[in-house]
Every structure is written in structure tokens, then in C-alpha cells.
Amino acid sequence: MNYKELTVRFCGIAGDGIVSSSRIISGACADAGLHVMVNDIYSAEIRGLGKSTSTIRFSGSKVYSMGDGINALVGLAQQESIDEIEDIREGGSVIYDSSSPADIPETESLASHIPPEVNGYGIPLKTLANQASGSNRGRNIVSMGALCHLYGLPKTIFINQIEKIFKRKGDKVVESNLTAFELGYEYCQNQYPLNNLFVMDKKAKPLQIISGNEAVAHGAMDCGLKFFAGYPITPATKIMEITAKELPKLNGWTIQVEDEIAAIGAVLGASFTGTRAMTATAGPGLSLMSELINLSVMAEISAVIVNVQRGGPATGLPTKVEQGDLNISLYGGAGDSPRVVMAPTCSKDCYTSIQAAFDLAEKYQTPVIFLSDLFLGQRLETDDIKRNINYKKSTRIKPTRQQLKNYQRYALTEDGVSPLIVPGEDGAFYSITGLAHNTAGNPNFESEVHLTMTQKRFRKFKSMVKDLPPVEIIGDADADIGIACWGSTYGAIFEGMQIARHNGVKTKMIKSIMIYPQDEESFKTFFASCKKIIVFEMNFQGQYAALLKSTYNIKPVEVHIPSVDPVSPAKIAAKIMEVNHELTQ
């Protein structure tokens, strides 16, 4: 068989080197100019050592989702890998350890669960790893050698990557890993001389590989982030780990605080001093932050809150993805509490939109909730990100000398944005409060003042429209079926649209990073041009559909994708075909 695209999954338990395997393969592929997407899944239950999988999809052309099914499974832990078999496509393969020293009962044996249409490759991973390094470590590298042969991948890209990754651990480690790789390759070549061929463009340029969380962290730091406060929570912690390491190099700081309330509190404190500040959390943390986000709205303090969504409600599904936090992001505050809500669709978006988020937060003195999710945050993908260092398109507007004379912190302006000085700056001082207040910032409970100030706060969101990242219309302009979606499901839906097009059904999609506020005119024009509208999203309620329905008075077909990891483009395509069938009837 010739392959132009492959999906490989490593499955094992802690210590099996699942993540490092996928990093080597994805790094090797990216360096060879292949497009890659990597998705890691950890089980929430720590049973024994805890199962984890890492799936790598790579292709000569851009990869937008994890696709459907896998070609190869490397079962480094036998029993744990059994559940993964059902994802293997017909003609796919399973690599398993044939050198397990202890007897394995039939029910726990990976081999016994492999269906005949899938090829099992028993490779003495343990024996070969021992031969290479004198220990069981390196079974993953042995299996990589086997994979490399089985799919006719160029050996050199792996060898280079192994050298690159293990270099800092010393020559001996590099050598034993290279030996392990060679042994796996040779064993497989001898035992299974008939292999597949991966067809690739040898002249492709190396690509960079980045996760959504990394892109968010680096995007933020490149646009002047100087303060990060957070509390560890799956799946957002990585962002804090990056800023913790990198911010001090930029004279900034990251503090791990006692809870998410303190995290957003510290962010508001830092922002109060004029510092670009951010926190990152997941649903439970966002729930705790609600009150202080409200304060951020009321006191008009810039803040960027990244919410890497996981399944909810409550503690929910810490290691599964769901797009269930749209409502709390939009509406999770007491009173009339407008806030910017954005949702990036890919790593590149994460980088560019977090910078746009800071633009909006700073200029409009508002909290911005940035809705990433577990899949987007953790997956690695190759993307062409142009770094934008020292990016500051907009900042907080300063008062003129005239305005400073009788400084009003919440001066009424046409666009609703009041000029601002911060502690440490000369000219005036003021206090801010979560109480209703007048233009000076002093508590005031008169209803007229309250109305005026509420109008001011909402006015900012109208003014903002001119500064929003533009919407994109994707697909066939003349299509009758229009699609709306948000966040990380975009990739699978986009691929689903392509599959549908292959089957003769044209569609178009409105892609908007902005959830609130939106460029309403563009949405209205788009929806008016569609005979049928489908809204795809990964939650039970149809939270985005509800927003669109109430804003644009549309009656879409709502597709509520259950929390799965990740979304199947084939199923999206099937739904599109179904809607098309109804339309043409």
C-alpha cells in the first residue's frame, strides 16, 4: 500500500514514553515538512500508573483535525491498548510486545483482540530495548523503528530527531536510543519484509509545531504580557508552566496562587497598575472567577481570562473536551455584565487571537474571555505562525492635560472608553469600586447615574466592532447550506465539508473568532444567503446556536456533538449529507 497520510497511536502507562514517542515522530515529520497534528489523552483515573495515549496524524498537506480512525497502534501496555483497537481502520496494524516475560491471560492479551482485518506485528520490544540500553526503557523507540519500516518512512528523519531530542542527555543516551531504533527497524525488516510506502515530498520545508496552550502563552508574551496568576487545573496548566519559565526573562512574573479567585484577583490588581495581565483556567476555575470578572466589568479593568474548556458541569470530565462553557462566559455574571468572548480554532488562531484579545481588553478596559479547549490546548499541530514580537496595536488611552485637571476615572465619552492613568503616574488619583459609581469613581446609587454608566459600559461593545478580527467565509460561495461553528471543532467540520464536497454537496461556513460582540452585519448577510443553516458545536444544549438564534432570528439545524475526543469529520459529513437530502427532497 502507498500512503500519503498516516495516523499512528501510542498507548501505554506512565513510564512507557508515550508522550516522548509522539514528540519524536511529530518532530521528525514536521522537520521533514509534513503537516502534523498530535492529540494526547490521559485517563482521569489514576489506575495503577494511569493509561495515556498519544495520536499522531501526519500528511503532506495541511491537517485540520485528527481525522477518522488510525492506521497503526503501538501497544506499549497490552491490556490498556485493547480498547484502542476499535479505532483502527481496516488493513491497519498493531505493534505489540512479543517478549513479555510473564504469561498473559487471553483476556489481557492485546494480540487476542486484534481482528483478522488488522495486521498484528509481534515485536520483542522489551528484549530489543534491553539489548540496546540494558533496560526496558526504549521500548517506544524500538517500536518506532518498527513503524518506520512498516510504513516505509525515511529512516534519516527519525535518526535526526532522536539525536536532537536526546542530545542534552548525553552521547550515551543518544547512542542507545539510536541502537534501539535500528534494532526495531531491522527486526521488523527481517520478519515482515513486505512493507507499505509513505509517499512524501522530499523538498518540503521544515514546519514549526506548536500546541494551542503554547501558542496562547507565546502570543500573550509577545504582545507584552508581564503578569500571570493562576491555579493548576487540567487542561490549562501548561500555559502557566510556560509563562512561569519565560516571563522572568522578560522582566515579568508568574505566580501560582491559592485558588482561581486569587488568580483573577491578582490579575485585576496587576492590571490596575497598567500591567498586561492574564490568567488561564478551565470551567471549575472560571466558575470561581465569575464574581471578580463581574468586578472587572464594573470597575472597567482590563483582563484576559483564558478558559481551556473541559467537560462539565462541576468537576465534570477533566480529561475530555467539551464546548460547554460558552454560556457561563457570555452570561456568567450578576447584573448586566457584558464581556468580550473569543474562541480560537487552531494553534495559529491561538497565537494571533490572544494578541487581538489583549488589544480589545486594553483599549476597551474590559475582561476578555478566551475560550480554548482541551483538544485545542493540548494538541500539537504544524502551523505557519508569523511571530509578532512587541505587538501592541492598541493600549489604554491616556488623559490629556486638560482632562487630568479634574480627572474623572469614568468620564463619559462617545465610544464609552474613559482615558486612564494608573498608580505610579502623576496628575491625579482615584479609587475604583465594584459598587455602582459616578464618573469620578465614587460610590453612587442613583438610578439615573446607574443607567448612564451601564449605557457607557455597553457602548464600548458597539464601538468595538470596528476593531474586531474579521469573519471569514469558507467554502463555496454559491452553496445553499451554511455552517456556523466555533472553537476547535472548526477543523473537523472543515474536513467534513471537504468530504461532503467530494460527495457532491457544497457548503459554506462563517468562521468567526468573535463570539461576543460579533460583526452582526456580516452574519446577517451570510445567513440570508443560506437555504439551510447548520450549527455544529460540542455541547448538549446548543449554546452557540441559542446565541445565534436570539441575535439573528434564524432557525438552524442544531448538531450537538457529544463530548468525544476528537470530532469525526466523517460524521460531520454524514450530517451535511443528511441535511442536503432533506433540502433537495
Partner: protein, 286 residues
């Protein structure tokens, strides 16, 4: 604010003998005449004057409660935050701009009730901030309910059959958490309050002023009089350099000691940050 209130407030200021009003922002305190909080406000005015803290660098953060309005009465930047959340906000302010003098003012409900979870961590970080905890053992703003420092048996709106829970001792907590400056003052002792607030502001690190600041309106049990009967001074040779000893003194019911319990000089959070910056700079250069 109506004229009646204004008169009451001016009376309050008068009774509190706030003479030096140059640090007073032209907003009238909302407290009842005789409220212990005036003493702390006066202490802060005097400390700011003595230490010549510029207004632009003077930041007062507060939570919710009677104490919450503090920032509006002082010339400087104020952050009237949410109930219990002053300490995390002050943490962000001080890390983001170490040049600022950051004072946190809160009540007993704010500090050891709703915000009790933040207290140990603010102490732990040893940021160079001063926390004035105005303890009146009552929820005054909501017109008289028990607080975390109210005594057992106290009858209040929400404890009509008497308070069951035992009171928290904020001084003990601060000492146990590892605060590097812990003092207890009594709003009646105006000079001591001013002196210790000044010392606290001068201290490099987290400083706690636990101010016994009676509520003249809603607390009939804990009053100037009741405190007056039990407060006492440290022995002459008390050195305020031994945490274990300080804890013993803090727990004493009779007398309830007033004064500086402990002062310890260790690097502050920002000192550590600076050190790390330096280290990174030098490794990057080499």
C-alpha cells in the same frame, strides 16, 4: 450623602481627633461616630505624612464591610474590591509594580471569614504589604450578625440562641502562618495605633496590624469598655523576636496583649524576584 450624615461624620472625625486632614480626600467617611476605624484612618494619615509617601504611589486596597470604604477617604489610589478579595488583588498590584506602597484594609469578616483562604497565602508570599485588619467581631454593614471573631454565646440576628462557633484569633493566625511583622493594637490607644502602623509600613515584608476596633452600634459585647478591662502591655524585656513565645502571648486571654508580637527580617517576595531577574540576566549575558 445627606446633611445629617455629614454632620455625624464630621462629629466622628472630631471625636477621633483627626487633626491633620491634609491626607483626607474630600469624601466623608461613612462610619458611625465613635467607630474604632477612625483611629486606624488617622494612623494611616500620620504614617503616610511622616514617611512622605507620594500620593501617586500610595495604594489602598479594601474588601467589603465598614472597613471597605477606607480607600475613598485617603489621598491616593484606591481599589475597593470584592468581599474578602483584597489580599489577592494587593498581591497582583505589588508584584506588578513594587514601587507602590500597598496597604490592605479589611474587617474580621472580610479577612478571616470570606477571605480567610487568602490570608495564609498572602502571609506566605511575604510581599511587602501592610494588612490592617479592623476587628470589631461583628458584621456591621449588614447591621449586626456574628463574625468569625465573635465570642461563643453571642446573640445576634443570625444567632438568636447564641453563637456556637469558637472565635478565631487573627494575631495567632498571622503568627502561625509565618508573618514577618505582627502587631495588635486597640483603637482607643491612638498613639500606639499610629506608631505601629508607621512601623508596619517601614517593615520590609508582610505586616499585620490587628486592630481591636469596636463597633459602637451593633456590638454590645465587645466594646471599648470590655477591651479596656483585659488589654495589657508586654513585659519590658519582651523582644518580639521569638515566634513560639509570640504565639503564647497572642493566645493569652488575660491580659490580651497589645503591641508588637514579632518582627523578622527576611527577603520579601519582590527581593526574590529581583534576585531571579539578576540571575537570568547574568546567565543570558554569559
Amino acid at each position: 450623602m445627606n446633611s445629617l450624615n455629614k454632620r455625624a461624620v464630621l462629629e466622628g472625625l472630631e471625636r477621633a481627633k483627626i487633626k491633620n486632614k491634609s491626607k483626607w480626600r474630600d469624601i466623608l467617611p461613612t462610619w458611625c461616630p465613635g467607630c474604632g476605624h477612625f483611629t486606624a484612618l488617622n494612623g494611616l494619615y500620620e504614617a503616610a505624612l511622616d514617611l512622605k509617601i507620594p500620593e501617586k504611589n500610595f495604594v489602598v486596597v479594601s474588601g467589603i464591610g465598614c472597613s471597605g470604604r477606607f480607600p475613598f477617604f485617603i489621598k491616593g489610589f484606591g481599589f475597593h474590591a470584592l468581599h474578602g478579595r483584597a489580599l489577592p488583588i494587593a498581591t497582583g498590584i505589588k508584584i506588578a509594580n513594587p514601587e507602590l506602597t500597598v496597604i490592605v484594609v479589611g474587617g474580621d469578616g472580610d479577612g478571616v471569614g470570606i477571605g480567610g483562604g487568602h490570608f495564609p497565602h498572602a502571609v506566605r508570599n511575604n510581599l511587602d504589604i501592610t494588612y490592617i485588619l479592623l476587628d470589631n467581631s461583628i458584621y456591621g454593614l449588614t447591621k449586626g450578625q456574628v463574625s468569625p471573631t465573635s465570642p461563643v454565646g453571642m446573640i445576634s440576628g443570625t444567632t438568636p440562641y447564641g453563637n456556637i462557633a469558637r472565635p478565631i484569633n487573627p494575631t495567632t493566625l498571622a503568627l502561625a502562618y509565618g508573618a514577618t511583622f505582627v502587631a495588635r493594637v486597640f483603637s482607643r490607644e491612638r498613639q500606639d495605633v499610629s506608631d505601629l502602623i508607621k512601623q508596619a509600613l517601614q517593615h520590609k515584608g508582610f505586616s499585620l496590624i490587628h486592630d481591636l476596633s469596636p463597633c459602637v452600634e451593633f456590638n454590645r459585647l465587645i466594646t471599648y469598655k470590655s477591651w479596656n478591662q483585659v488589654v495589657g502591655k508586654f513585659p519590658e524585656d519582651y523582644k518580639a523576636d521569638n515566634r513560639t513565645l509570640a504565639l503564647q502571648y497572642a493566645e493569652s486571654k488575660e491580659p490580651v496583649y497589645l503591641g508588637l508580637f514579632l518582627k523578622e527580617n527576611i527577603p520579601t517576595f519582590n527581593d526574590h524576584v529581583k534576585q531571579i531577574f539578576k540571575k537570568i540576566d547574568s546567565t543570558e549575558k554569559s
